[in-house]
Amino acid sequence: MIRVGIVGLGKMGLSHQAILGANPDVDLVGICDSNSYLLGILNKYTGVPTYTKLEQMLDEAGPQALVVATPSRFHASMVRAAIERNINVFCEKPFCLDAREGSDLAAEARRRGLVTQVGYHNRFVGSFAEVKRLVDAGAIGDITRVLAEAYGPVVLRPSGGTWRSKRSEGGGSLYDYAAHPINLVNWYLGAPSGAGGTALTKVFSGEIDDEVSSTLFFESGTTAQVSVSWSDDSVRKMTTRVTLWGTRGRIFADRQECQVYLRDGSPLLTSGTEQYRQGWNVKYTTELTAPVDFYLRGEEYSAELERFVDRCSNGEVEGVNSFDDAVITDQTIQTMIDDAQRGAQTRYGGDTDGDVAVRHSHTQPRRVPAIRRVVRRLARR
């Protein structure tokens, strides 16, 4: 039996509370939030002890593990409070808004032998896990190019009063949406060596990005394009998808299915143990997804917490989605932000403009394209 506390009872926190509440190996010793209205209801009807101060919950309820599901800007300080008390931590994504701080926390947790995990739930989706298995087995040979996408209907009008609409609190589609496909790219290919052509564009928002496009470069020569929008209501709910091209084939996956095209020479075709054949192969979630003991919104949400609880019970410091893994994604995001601010582009007409910030936003003035500057200069002569 593991004693668990939860801080932050938004959508993810409540979902985690329900999943942990149904887990017979978990003793939910406290929940903490600033919304006393919600705490009142939960205390009265579910009997769980409630707190409005994290430190008080950690000291009085004595959890062995803490789930952090607050707005992103609080992650670092709350994770630190738990680590200092030698409490294992499951933190929602993104891990930390300051990648260096995240890296320090990861090192400190490791030094203390704590179990850490970040809520990148796609690594627990059967089809995305199958991609990882295939990539590691060299199924499509050397990977040359990746397309990592996420689309969904979150911001569809110019309003929004929650932390998700504030840059300083970790709002914006880069942290909220793009973090998922970027994390998958990190899982499959590791840390990139750099980012280029990053554009963080607005559709409806005043302060933050609604769309992300970027190219990630890897030492191997592989490139990964990131394409994200949370202002796309042509999809019913968030959809994350990855496509990988390699010298021996192509893989496409979303949360429902994994479509694999294998070319002659794929090691999978000669392994003798695989069910894959030359040409197209399609595997569906029904065969790729392992059952869970309690289902709420998708197997992955239960599976990630089941895994975390198991790791805590067994003291397994190594595991998928550790802080160390999540720091790579934080660093990738930070690199993309830096790249977007640098705003380099090769201009039509041949000028390279490397040191001036250029945002492709509807709300900011654009620089006069180089070709027109040349035309004007010629006209003045």
Partner: protein, 302 residues
Amino acid sequence: MDRLLFGDNQFFGVNHMSEEKARAQQMQFQDTAAIMRVLDIAYAAGVRTFMCTTHERVAEVCDEARENPGRFPDLDFFPCMPYAHKYADAVTERGLVDALRRFLPSSGFVDAALRSTSSLAKKDIEGIATLLIDAEMKMFDGLRTPVIWLQNVVTDLLVGLGFDDALRIFSDHVREKYKAEPGFITMNLPLLLDHLDRAGVENPLVCANINKIGFRMSGGIAAYQAALEARPFRAVAMSVLASGAIPPAEALEWVCAQPNIESIVFGASSASHIQQIVSLVDSLWDTEATHRSGSTELRRNV
């Protein structure tokens, strides 16, 4: 209750197998007229129950059913509420309290309840819950709704939280105000039955995935079979084809052989699929009828 209930996932791009197929379906059913045409086919095939979400497009189907009462004279609606994405998106955009405000009628009571900072009286929870139910039911005014379902995402959230009183509040309000049978959709059948017992909801109507491969049957296929055999509840099977992973004949043969299942929900968008399911269930359940004691009676007692 009819033994075949017609579902609506196929109309709104809900497909657990393929996002591509889901998108194709969204395009196919963009116009409500396309939904109506499939309902015509299902009705002609003998289907008399439409088990539908409270999606805004269903409101248009309801309008049509009211305006042309001769089109589906014997059609029952089984609303499933809430349409969760509507609320989830609003919570993401506005935060919990503002989202609630948006969906509740403006009244002194609601404002007072949402301003309250201390722990809430039970009547407040009941008040908010019943106002939300009434808001979702508005589109069915004047139509027959003998069963009203709580969607699995809410049922299972309440089960996980141990918020059993809310299950009871839903049940009581549906019976008292709508004179309807409350139903609970779940992905965790054995666990839900324990919580309904605790909440004092007797012989509940429960809809759960029941399929040969155990797809999304949390707790395991054996626990589901034991519950069907021994526990006092009325079972409705959904996802019997496991999103298409099992061929219809094989899937239905297995489901119809399970004990004490009253009804099956199915979704289909072509005449041939609808007719195939209807005739398979007709032939399979007729031969099973002898050891399904009292089932014929049960089918019509809602």
